[in-house]
């Protein structure tokens, strides 16, 4: 608990026009308990308070402060309030939260084919880049971005996206968060965390398909 603050100005000085309102407000704000400031309408930016409070009110408040001794730290909720004030409001993320309903055990399995560096794990919102091949249970390859001899080799780029944001199927979002940079893994994803009952119409993925992806996590930004 801080020592009780001392009076900075005498009564005469307080009444004098030489003492600017802002100084007085600053003193009170620095030393008074939050509830005190609240009651006397002295919370907020000094400029704003200066506009709305009269000098006389400030002098009265100043004197009351020393009378009541409601300094900082004397409020029971002071600490918590201070912490709350200190918290910066982060800009509300523009992503809509996808409902994460606890459905029980994860609907994918992972087998590591090649170990990664085990240090660089992606967090939600990081941009990851990967090479991948996707097959159905019967072995049909339905998608890949790995250049084969047939394709124009050098034009291929790894797939980049922000992980953990619901932009990709859930099996990928959850799976990639468990991988580290350089890792190659085999993800077997149940339809519930892939394309479900619908599959991908007009594509090779039928309804209720379990998907198998071999994924190499190349980069994490």
């Amino acid at each position: 608990m801080a020592a009780e603050p001392t009076r900075e100005w005498s009564d005469e000085q307080l009444k004098s026009d030489d003492l600017p309102k802002k100084d007085l407000i600053k003193f009170i704000q620095d030393n008074a308990a939050h509830s005190f400031l609240n009651e006397h309408k002295l919370l907020g930016n000094i400029k704003n308070v200066a506009k709305t409070a009269k000098k006389e009110q400030l002098v009265i408040a100043y004197n009351q402060l020393f009378q009541s001794k409601r300094f900082k730290g004397t409020d029971p909720v002071e600490e918590v309030t201070e912490e709350v004030k200190a918290v910066k409001l982060e800009e509300k993320p523009k992503e809509v939260k996808t409902e994460v309903v606890d459905e029980g055990p994860p609907k994918f399995t992972k087998s590591v084919l090649k170990k990664g560096d085990k240090t660089n794990f992606p967090k939600k919102g990081d941009t990851v880049s990967c090479w991948y091949t996707g097959t159905l249970e019967d072995g049909t390859v339905f998608d890949t971005n790995i250049p084969t001899a047939a394709r124009k080799k050098k034009q291929a780029k790894p797939l980049s996206f922000k992980v953990g944001m619901g932009r990709v199927i859930r099996g990928w979002d959850e799976g990639l968060l468990t991988m580290s940079k350089g890792e190659t893994a085999r993800l077997e994803i149940e339809p519930e965390w892939a394309y479900g009952k619908k599959g991908l119409p007009d594509s090779k993925i039928p309804p209720n398909a379990k998907l198998i992806f071999e994924v190499e996590l190349v980069a994490v930004d």
Partner: protein
């Protein structure tokens, strides 16, 4: 005469060096040369142009001869064709590329569709050769050329049916194919540039900054080209599937454009999902909105998701909900327009995006996203106001599909929103019918939820079981809504047992009687009385063959004023109205009966 003048000036200039040609020399050469060609003396012009001694002059001034040459080349049956062709080819080899470019571009400007198509077909190849010689000015000149070419293409009538595409009467399809051939070397160059960049990195040692800039500029011009074509003609035409039309020039053109985008390093997923991806501002020439016009991106999304072009290179890992959220922006754009082709594509894209999502899976917080509210509003406009019947019907189908994809809470909130904002009795009636279906589902064992029974249902019901203007409500205008509300009330009263009261209707009933049933009764009586009196008056007037009253309004279509309604028609309409009131009343009476039965067991 012209020939003499031409010979004179040529002779004079043979003695001079090419930087001392006077302006007069230029002018005389131009005017005389053009006249000679126009008068049919192209053979002489050819010999002059081929003469060794005249090459400096030809290099300097020859390009001015292009204007009369091109029409001859386009005519094809002209007897001067061989000579003119020879002149043309020689000029192409001799004159400066910069000037040839200007001359050729000028000749592209035509007015009638046939000439446009023919001149494009003729001139694209020479233009390509000229551009390939241009060096550092190439990208901007290419951009200028592509812009002019596309302006001309925009003047061509579009094929609207499969047969028209096959016939290609106005040669639009051929122009598109010509265009692809035209840009091919530049696309290949851009592709090569990217590969060298990839393998060596943006290495300042091996490439100058100027070279870098040039490569960027080339990519930018090609991007502009692709974006423009996505808007026109691609957004305006209907692509046919391989089953319908195995060889489709337009589909090939679209595929080539997508391939071009890939060649210049644009990722299709990034483009299509752009609305939701905060892309870093690309430093360079164009602002993002100019670089990626929204309409072009919407067209691209349609090509990718509805026509499945480039399907084998589009990753199959994106979540259907994410995909839907992105395409909603494109759909909004397309449905906000009035052109049939855009509305149709908007509906198709919407349908395709919804179909991939499981029923009853979309959560209510999606409704916090603006497009999920504005798209249905636009859809309502289509359903109620689009002149084409098939689009209205399809709009309704997609509307219902979108409802089916929402989960229960989302459906509830959506219904609330639509009832508040649609301002259309038919739409409100349709929503009320949906509400009834949801209540029916909720009442089935195992489907219980708090939205369509229990605590949330009553506030919704209160909004539904009400008259917009109390007893003075215009029953005919609000017929659809009123009938559905009555049907819903009747359903509730039959389905929900008094002893169970799962929906809360029985405890609410007295309020509904006051707010809905009684005012409705009053309204019916008032309306009936009013219309019966009207009917009587009209029939009296008809009997007396009294002069038809001056109507308060007249209606004109085009410049013709429509005739007033005949007495017979008026009487028919009034009878019809009275019949409607009877219909409303019969349901109301039935409800009252059912309620009474439950009251007095």
């Amino acid at each position: 005469m012209a020939l003499e003048q031409l010979s004179d000036v040529v002779q004079r200039c043979q003695a001079l060096s090419n930087d001392s040609y006077a302006t007069e020399d230029h002018d005389v050469f131009t005017i005389a040369g053009r006249s000679c060609i126009e008068e049919g003396n192209s053979a002489q012009v050819l010999s002059i142009v081929l003469d060794e001694k005249n090459q400096d002059m030809v290099r300097c001034m020859g390009w001015n001869l292009l204007p009369p040459l091109i029409p001859v080349l386009l005519k094809k049956e002209d007897k001067n064709l061989p000579q003119c062709l020879a002149i043309f080819n020689h000029l192409m080899q001799t004159c400066r590329p910069k000037e040839l470019l200007i001359g050729l571009l000028e000749q592209l400007e035509q007015d009638d569709p046939d000439t446009i198509a023919e001149s494009l077909h003729l001139l694209l190849s020479p233009l390509q050769k000229v551009l390939l010689c241009l060096g550092s000015r190439k990208p901007s000149s290419l951009g200028m050329t592509l812009s002019s070419v596309l302006d001309q293409v925009a003047k061509l009538p579009l094929p609207l049916t499969k047969e028209q595409e096959e016939d290609d009467v106005f040669s639009l399809c051929r122009c598109c194919a010509d265009l692809i051939d035209f840009v091919r070397p530049f696309v290949n160059e851009a592709r090569q540039n990217l590969l060298t960049t990839k393998t060596h990195g943006k290495n300042i040692d091996t490439m100058t900054t100027k070279q870098n800039e040039m490569e960027d500029e080339l990519r930018t011009e090609l991007l502009k080209f692709c974006m423009k074509t996505l808007s026109h003609p691609l957004l305006e035409v209907q692509l046919r599937d391989p089953d319908t039309l195995p060889v489709s020039p337009l589909r090939m053109f679209a595929t080539d454009i997508l391939e071009t985008l890939r060649a210049i390093g644009e990722s299709l997923p990034s483009l299509v999902y752009q609305p939701l991806l905060r892309r870093k501002q690309v430093p360079g020439f164009l602002e993002e909105e100019v670089r990626y016009p929204k309409e072009s991106l919407a067209s691209l999304a349609h090509l990718v998701f509805v026509h499945h072009l480039a399907a084998d290179t589009f990753p199959s890992v994106f979540s259907p909900v994410f995909s839907l959220r992105c395409t909603m922006e494109h759909i909004l754009l397309l449905l906000s327009r009035t052109e049939d082709c855009r509305i149709q594509k908007g509906l198709e894209l919407y349908e395709k995006s919804l179909v991939r999502v499981e029923d009853s899976s979309l959560p209510a917080d999606l409704l916090e996203i603006k497009t999920f509210l504005t798209v249905p509003q636009n859809l309502v406009k289509v359903m109620t106001m689009c002149p084409r019947h098939d689009l209205r019907t399809r709009g309704l189908k997609v509307f219902q599909l979108s409802i089916d994809k929402f989960n229960t809470e989302a459906k509830y909130r959506f219904f609330q929103y639509m009832l508040k904002t649609s301002r259309h009795s038919g739409v409100e009636g349709y929503i009320i019918k949906n509400i009834k279906n949801q209540i029916d589902i909720a009442l089935q064992p195992g489907n219980s939820n708090t939205w369509f029974e229990g605590v949330h249902l009553l506030p919704l019901l209160r909004k539904v079981l009400s008259l917009p203007d109390g007893p003075e409500t215009d029953l005919l205008q609000y017929l659809d809504r009123i009938m559905e509300s009555l049907n819903l009330l009747r359903y509730l009263v039959i389905r929900d047992k008094v002893t169970e009261n799962q929906t809360g209707i029985w405890t609410e009933l007295y309020k509904i009687e006051d707010a809905f049933m009684k005012p409705l009764r009053v309204g019916i009586n008032m309306s009936r009385a009013h219309y019966e009196r009207e009917l009587h008056t009209t029939m009296e007037a008809k009997k007396k063959k009294a002069k038809e009253e001056e109507s308060v309004l007249s209606v004109s279509v085009g410049d013709e004023k429509l005739p007033n309604m005949t007495s017979e028609s008026q009487i028919q309409a009034l009878h019809s109205a009275l019949h409607t009131f009877d219909m409303i009343e019969s349901v109301l009476v039935r409800i009252e009966e059912l309620v009474q039965v439950k009251d007095d067991p």
